[in-house]
């Protein structure tokens, strides 16, 4: 069960992404809708705040699935780390935000967009923190499709060897890649959880759209080894015609599609 505050925020995020989609030719909407509750829970519940004005954290967040950038942007906007004008100028020549997170932009800890880069970088960060006894946890959101990259498996093998219990990876597991279902293209890919366990990771499996549960399960972790949270999600979650339909990986809705999506989100709030 989502709490009302989380649920309201996530509906608001989805509406904001739809609104922005009307200003740019095409946008990765469905990949962002898939991980919104995860990203929101990490920022609002899981990462430890260092200061509230301005919002700063002790912990770190890397969106390894860089094509989910919109999810991170809207949460950063909500936190006041990014400005409304930053998002309004998305992908414009006058703006600083593009289709993928860019290192140096407030709140962005690494440039991503090519898959399989975030986890090795996070391992380097977590290792430095370990060696120098810095109390900080590095959070990574990765997609299940991304896990087809060899660099992910390298990094999965390495992280437990280095004793990085200050590293937590959330896998946005929506069983989709660009063209088709992952389970169809790579039938042996699932279940992910057994593979992570056999590599020495602590694992948790959850419903990735249940903000409360994401947090509740997370705090119960043992925390002796790196953690992998398999978050089962729906690509395009929240708008029925975008759900589980690959065409919404990278596309902007027409005006009428936009109106009906908005209406659905409003109705969803009442249920």
């Amino acid at each position: 069960m989502n709490g009302n505050a989380e649920k309201n925020r996530c509906v608001k995020y989805r509406k904001r992404i739809l609104q922005l989609s009307q200003k740019v030719g095409a946008l990765h909407i469905a990949p962002a809708f898939s991980c919104l509750e995860i990203v929101d829970a990490i920022y609002y519940k899981i990462m430890r705040p260092k200061s509230l004005k301005p919002v700063k954290f002790f912990d770190n967040f890397i969106l390894s699935k860089g094509h989910g950038a919109m999810a991170q942007y809207v949460v950063l906007e909500h936190l006041g780390i990014l400005l409304e004008s930053d998002l309004n100028n998305l992908c414009q020549s006058s703006g600083k935000l593009g289709g993928h997170p860019d290192y140096g932009v407030p709140g962005i800890e690494a440039s991503t967009g090519s898959l399989g880069h975030g986890l090795p970088i996070a391992i380097g960060m977590a290792l430095a923190d370990k060696v120098f006894n810095i109390d900080r946890i590095v959070y990574v959101v990765m997609s299940d499709g991304e896990m087809q990259e060899g660099s992910v498996w390298e990094a999965m093998l390495i992280a437990p060897n280095l004793g990085l219990n200050n590293l937590a990876v959330f896998v946005d597991s929506n069983d989709f890649q660009v063209l088709d279902r992952i389970s169809k293209i790579n039938p042996n890919f699932y279940p992910i959880i057994e593979k992570a366990q056999s590599f020495g990771w602590e694992t948790i499996e959850i419903d990735g759209h249940d903000s409360r549960l994401i947090y509740e399960k997370f705090v119960k972790r043992e925390g002796k080894t790196p953690l992998m949270v398999i978050a089962n999600t729906v690509k395009g979650k929240g708008v029925s015609f975008m759900e589980n339909n690959p065409i919404w990986n990278f596309r902007s809705p027409s005006k009428s599609e936009y109106d009906s999506a908005f209406k659905e989100l409003d109705e969803g709030l009442l249920t």
């Binding site: 986890l119 970088i121 380097g124 977590a126 430095a128 060696v131 390298e154 390495i158």
Partner: protein, 305 residues
């Protein structure tokens, strides 16, 4: 060269507690044992995983550490190319990518172990610097320079056993500046890396004909000392480039570009590895020769011209 690198890195790590070396199951010889023993937390053998080696070094450097990634040059450059491009260069993160056995140093191991176009590939990347020292002394200085860099660097090393060539250099080593090892008036030779030894021998042979010869170490290939090259092109009637790198995008190509841009009126002769995989074995010198890089062929060509 790899021992000089390991010794120097140990010295740097003794002074700077934030120096890390991440190796992909290739370690710079016995001299690294001391580093490993004294700083076990900062020597990481990541296993045969070059992509993660680069990504991890990026993460370490993003935490303020000085990170060196080390393996055989081909594996350091080609396998994790996108990690070098995106994690290091695009984000402009100061990590030193150290490639041992650059050029055809692994002469018996075949083309999979030959980094003959690495300088062209690394030079093409924005923010990347490229250094290729010619002897153990330059390797020490280049390693120090890497540890001070504000952005990514590719350090191309030979293997082991290279002779000292720069003990009597006329100028100090300075990152981004070429240095005269000898100074003459008529002919000038540009070179870098272990093939410098041959360049110096060729210089001596030319001097036997009564001409005086400058020999210049162009150890920093990027940023290239364009001013230094331009003035050398102006000061000599004949300029020769000798390099252990493909003719595509190496010092030869770069020198031709600078010569053209600056209306140089000297004669320019370039000797590089062929743009070809040769499938030959033998000593490093044997492979050079198969590419047309031996003192005899070079001198003959210079005489005919």
């Amino acid at each position: 060269m790899r021992d000089a690198f390991a010794r120097t890195l140990y010295q740097i790590a003794k002074k700077n507690p934030k120096v890390f070396i991440v190796v992909a199951d290739i370690s710079p010889a016995a001299s690294m044992a001391l580093f490993q023993k004294e700083f076990p937390d900062r020597f990481i053998n990541i296993g045969v995983a070059e992509q993660s080696m680069i990504g991890m070094c990026a993460g370490l450097a993003m935490r303020g550490c000085t990170a060196f990634a080390y393996t055989i040059a081909t594996f350091a450059v080609y396998r994790p190319f996108e990690q070098i491009r995106d994690d290091l260069c695009y984000q402009n993160i100061p990590v030193a990518v150290v490639g041992v056995g650059g050029g055809v140093a692994y002469s018996t191991l075949g083309g999979t172990h030959h980094a003959q176009e690495d300088i062209a590939v690394m030079s093409a990347l924005p923010n990347m610097s490229v250094i290729a020292p010619c002897d153990p002394l330059e390797t020490e200085l280049a390693t120090w320079a890497c540890s001070q860099s504000k952005g990514p660097v590719y350090l191309r090393l030979g293997k082991a056993g290279e002779p000292v060539l720069t003990a009597d250099a006329l100028e100090p080593f300075q990152f981004g500046k070429l240095r005269y090892l000898r100074k003459g008036k008529d002919v000038c030779i540009f070179s870098y890396g272990p093939i410098m030894k041959m360049a110096m021998e060729i210089g001596k042979k030319i001097e036997e004909t009564g001409q005086t010869v400058s020999v210049i170490s162009v150890h920093t290939l990027k940023p290239l000392d364009k001013e230094g090259i331009t003035s050398a092109l102006k000061a000599h009637q004949k300029v020769i480039v000798i390099e252990e790198h493909s003719e595509e995008g190496g010092l030869s190509a770069k020198t031709k570009q600078i010569a053209w841009e600056n209306n140089a009126d000297c004669r320019l002769f370039t000797f590089s590895l062929k743009d070809s995989f040769l499938h030959t074995y033998g000593s490093q010198q044997d492979i050079w020769k198969a590419h047309g890089l031996d003192a005899c062929s070079i001198l003959n060509e210079l005489l005919i011209s």
